[in-house]
Symmetry: D2
């Protein structure tokens, strides 16, 4: 990924954001989004798909919210602290919900990987929120 | 749009959600998302684009968050109240931020239309939040 | 929706695009995207979810492609005919694939509605392509 | 990213797709999408934003199309060759258009990085298309 490079290439002052924390949060959002999209699809192909229905739904929500959060965090022009805080909080919540669900299905390696990605992304969101004041 | 028809076609019980309020919120999210995407592009074509920079950025964020909110609200399987509340709150905040910005540029008819769409969507989100308890 | 109003509010010349055809295509893309998102979720809640697996997958693809197409078509600044044509062709194909699939499940009213939305969007894409030369 | 791990975790046969080529294409789409989102925002903050207007627009389109392509390619259930081919072709075209534009602004390091990401993604799409037959 080019997340850190693009942050360095931004032509104006980034304010007092912690760049390492921001970079990690964007990267975890992107990783979590792709993992959730792939996990929803892998769940769809399980023999016992009826048991995976809630997991598929939470994966889809989490993928959408993580992608949107990565986009918002990749923009620095005209920064709005209230908007940023609200979407990062929603992302932490979506990741927590999806991790809770995937952790019940860790016999499937895609759910085990997805639970890890969700927990890492939830943590990165909470670390970023702590720096936003 | 088919929002109400698809809600009626859902094969299971929708719980005690207010279907009219939910339908209106999804419709306003979709309208706001498209209006913000078009407003960002119209701002880009204004002669004084340098004055529209913050407006373009807020439009882009608001479009992304409204689309994601419409998706989450269009799903009913394995409903998660915490996740739903968090994304609808983020959406209300994004719409408020974008309306605040567009209201400063109502000499441009695209910003006037966008401010209205954002306020309507913010209101629909807050009405839905009130029913979520 | 505000599609036609936002097209009228665009501050520069729109070139020789047929505005009515463009408006209808954007509207059908948005309607199809929301219908497909809701159909995927309704399929997930069917008792015989195992029979709906391919339908869910095609719905998800079609929703993503229709949303992206609506976004591209809502932008007029720096128009690129090759890019526009390529995404509208992909959208027509995604709608055709999803309609083919949903038409096999019209006993479910959500699939019947979705097949109609997909066919209408496919048609609107092909009509727009015909005007793009 | 977890792209290769999630591909290995898929519970069914992946058909005769070349997994290394598919993995690289998904990774390049995700990298290109984030780079384009950040490049559009960096362009917005340039002093000479009026010169960057077409670049911003192409970045936005390319980000949307790359994200959607990464999603479609992350799904394997109910594979549809026509749909996959159409979206990967649209992605190659969007990346080519965006690279052409960013290559005119390589004095800005964000455009130089973005042009590279677009060319790499275009190449990965064409390599995947060659394996799809």
């Amino acid at each position: 990924m080019n997340v850190a490079e693009m942050l360095s290439a931004y032509p104006r002052d980034l304010g007092d954001v912690d760049q390492a924390t921001l970079t990690r949060c964007i990267e975890e959002c992107l990783r979590c989004a792709q993992t959730c999209t792939a996990c929803a699809d892998a769940c769809l192909s399980e023999d016992m798909v009826a048991e995976m229905v809630k997991c598929i739904r939470t994966d889809l929500d989490c993928a959408d919210i993580c992608e949107t959060t990565a986009r918002v965090l990749s923009r620095h022009t005209g920064y709005d602290a209230n908007l940023t805080r609200a979407i990062v909080e929603a992302c932490a919540q979506a990741c927590a919900s999806c991790a809770d669900e995937c952790e019940q299905h860790t016999k499937h390696s895609h759910c085990a990987l997805c639970a890890q990605a969700c927990r890492a992304c939830e943590r990165a969101c909470r670390e970023l929120l702590a720096t936003l004041g």
